[in-house]
């Protein structure tokens, strides 16, 4: 039973408190992980939260990717550890080559904070078992470098492998290729998501509770593990 979920704080991480709250609300135990420690503290899954790690200097996620903790995380993720990267975390996962493609500047060149509807593309990942494919949820987009780009072949492969985790339901607010809001690796344990599910866990402070499923999914890994195995065999 997965219950201890590590939340990594890099210098400039901002939504780490929100990710911790979401894990708690979903019934898990958030475990703070420090970028400078080569210590995963035995967690069952890891969230790379949103923010501006290292001020987004050089390129979003480009410096964080080399943090000491990442030297532990990258091989663990490759070996199947569930990892969810949200916003800046998604950027870090792309920079770390745990996910294909890259995030680029929004087409409007402005930071965009807006409630957006996304349609879940697959529930075969560790982070989406709580959803039905085709289900639409409302989450919070807040990013300036959120347009997902990849070459045509990669985009085709993502679709063919059922690795598009979510697409913007009302058209891309930032110029993302194929309206892509999030993707997974082939095994389904690593997921990157540009909008923030951790800000949609309580109608008091966000647009409903639609985002809670990402965190609930990670607490019951047995099902997706089987699905991931099946997916890997495709």
């Amino acid at each position: 039973m997965t219950s201890r979920i590590g939340i990594v704080t890099f210098p400039g991480s901002l939504d780490d408190v929100d990710a911790s709250r979401a894990v708690t609300r979903a019934g898990g135990t958030p475990v703070p992980l420090w970028h400078g420690d080569r210590d995963m503290r035995g967690v069952d899954a890891v969230i790379l939260p949103g923010g501006f790690s290292y001020g987004d200097y050089l390129r979003c996620g480009a410096i964080a990717r080399f943090a000491p903790l990442m030297a532990e995380l990258i091989p663990a993720a490759s070996a199947g550890l569930p990892v969810l990267g949200i916003c800046n975390g998604f950027q870090i996962l792309c920079e770390a080559h745990l996910l294909p493609g890259a995030l680029t500047r929004n087409t409007g060149l402005h930071f965009v904070n807006r409630d957006v509807r996304i349609t879940i593309g697959t529930n075969r990942t560790h982070w989406t078992t709580a959803y039905r494919p085709g289900e639409t949820i409302t989450v919070v987009l807040k990013s300036g470098v959120g347009a997902y780009v990849a070459d045509q072949r990669t985009l085709a492969e993502l679709s063919a492998a059922n690795s598009v985790v979510a697409r913007y339901a009302d058209g891309s607010p930032n110029g993302s290729a194929g309206d892509i809001a999030g993707i997974a690796n082939a095994a389904g344990n690593v997921v990157g998501l540009m909008p923030h599910p951790e800000h949609a866990i309580d109608p008091l402070t966000g647009p409903g509770t639609g985002g809670l499923g990402f965190f609930a999914s990670a607490l019951a890994p047995e099902v997706p593990a089987a699905r991931a195995a099946a997916a890997a065999g495709w």
């Binding site: 408190v17 001020g55 402005h110 930071f111 957006v116 339901a169 800000h199």
Partner: protein
Amino acid sequence: MSPADTVAEAAATPERQQPHAALGLTDAEYASITSQLGRRPTDSELAIYSVMWSEHCSYKSSRKYLRQFAEKAPPSAALLAGIGQNAGVVDVGQGYAVTFKIESHNHPSYVEPFQGAATGVGGIVRDVLAMGARPVAIMDALRFGPADAPDTRRVLPGVVGGISFYGNCLGLPNIGGELAFDPCYAGNPLVNALCLGVMRHADLKLAQASGPGNKVVLFGSPTGPDGIGGASVLASASFDAGGAGGDQAKRPSVQVGDPFMEKLLIECCLELYEAGVVVAIQDLGAAGIACATTELAAAGKVGMTVGLDAVPLRDQGLTPPEILMSESQERMMAITAPEDLDEFLKICARWEVPATVLGEVTDTGRLEVRWRGDVVVDIPPASAAEGPLCERPAQRPPGQDVLNADDPGGLAGAGLGPGHDAPGAGERLLAELLAVLGSSAAADKTWVTEQYDKDVRGNTVLAAPHDAGVLRIDEESGLGVAIATDGNGRYTLLDPYAGTQLALAEAYRNVAATGARPLAVTNCLNFGSPEDPAVMWQFTEAVRGLADGCLALGIPVTGGNVSFYNQTGTEPIQPTPVVGVLGVLGDVRDRLPSGFSASGQQIVLLGTTSAEFGGSLWAQVTRGHLGGVPPSVDLDAEQRLAAVLAAAAAAGLLSAAHDLSEGGLALALAECCLTGGSRSAEPGGGPGLGCVVTMPAEPPGPVAFLFSESAARAVVAVRPSAESEFARLCGSHGVPARALGVTGGDALEVTGLFTAPLAELSEVRQRTLPDLFGG
């Protein structure tokens, strides 16, 4: 490198001419310095006095008047720290205290909009951090020239971009503010930034050095040549002769912000507080090290000795006066006990924040600054920290009577009279509503607010476009605060005393409209030159109005900021006091959004409507008129209205409340229809929820009911079955309540006059800013 001017040299060369006038010091002020020191000041000392005695740091023209805020302060048990500290601190219950302050960064934002506005946010956040609080939210009150002016297209996107860049990167939700346009701000935009911080009572930090032997630590960004004394003065030939090579005149007068370093500073400071290793702390803002050392020492009535050689520099060529005056951003100064120093430096290292011991607290009562073995400053710190007082003549301008006599009541024949009962009145009123709604003042602000992260940290319960930002403080109990800022230059121009009270009343009402109980006040007083007697009159009237208003409302001023010299040539801006009010909500789940969210609910107008069009948006937009007197002030009615709203919110009687201000009832109803519930603009949803209302068939008539800006009013939506209880509540508080109609449908329908489809209203309101500033 020429040797610096030392104390010894100053004593030996009393005859040396110094550029005090170029540094902004009068002959009398220079003579006063010389007499206090018993010799001429060194270059470094002169630099310190020139910045500390500047209007910006010393409040020399305003201090005399600002005392009223303390003298007339209502008795309030809530105030834990008041005026004079970096920011006021207010008890909000359950062991929590909040600190909040608003500050201007007007001139830098005109010169370099992006960095000017960004560093404005950075500065106010450090002020709040220095009180021992975690900064938890920001707001921005912005005023620009005409929205369609070419230069506004340079300034506005830059300012918004700078606030977005800095605030978002800091991880502070931006929960509201203002956006206003007027030709008077074309050459002098107003960029006022507010920051809110939260702490436990015990964590309060004061900027008072104490304990001889304690260490003085400078930490944060290295010091560079940015923002030195507004650049021009120190770049004067007489001052930097023989100084660092290169063209100093080209050095930027606007500082450049590094929000990443500021984020690290925030987390680092909070960990330092937690560890209990901070005796006193102050942020470095205007006047940099000069200000921090003199103020820390003066406030603690101690001496201090510091060495400038230890200051980490980005430019090794900086001279001692430049190091003292540099306004490089993202720096703090703290006092720590020697036994805690290791722990202090270890925490800084963990956050990768450079930290350096500059010196220590002494019992000499002198501020002594050394550089390369020589003493370059030796002064009593209080002499610099407590600047001179400046008596400025104040004179009511002769044109004021003419302005006040020009009441838009004179336009009655053109729009206020019985003509609206005639056929075609409905179309005319609808056209006026659309004109008001499409004006830049009433435009949908999403183009701006969407660039700000309002959600980070997960405690934002309401943000723009709701009446006030509402932030949860305690997740268990639901304790939270509401904050709003308001100002109206047109009202204040017509009557600075009443106009300032109207700004106070509107912010108070905005906070009350969320269901919160107003508790404390901050202010940012934006005015023209204090050397202009007419401006000084406006200022004195505004301060008197605010102090009297706060006394009447029973909420103290906790701090504020004065910004003078806001003018283009000799033409001052409209006097623009921006007033921030903070309120408390026992449980943020009771908060009231400003928009309608459910059909079939009764709509009630609270308060009394008179025909008051002086300074109104209606007069401006439909008649191009500014004159007369502003709406009358009734602070007793404001208090009763606030009490009703708080009680009704706590009892769950209402689903929405919206204050009436600019644009009157018509604009308020349109906003209620278009805003929606707590989370405005459902993605993929329609343009809101309509209503059907009927204007009373009695004086002051439909135009005034729709567009008058009478104060102390709000419109509310009553939950089903709560109508009679709410009516009783209004009756017991003496608040006039009049049922206007019911929510529902997809249009704003005013019976017998017009039906405006929401899609049309939405289109008119939404397109204004994107059309001007791009998709």
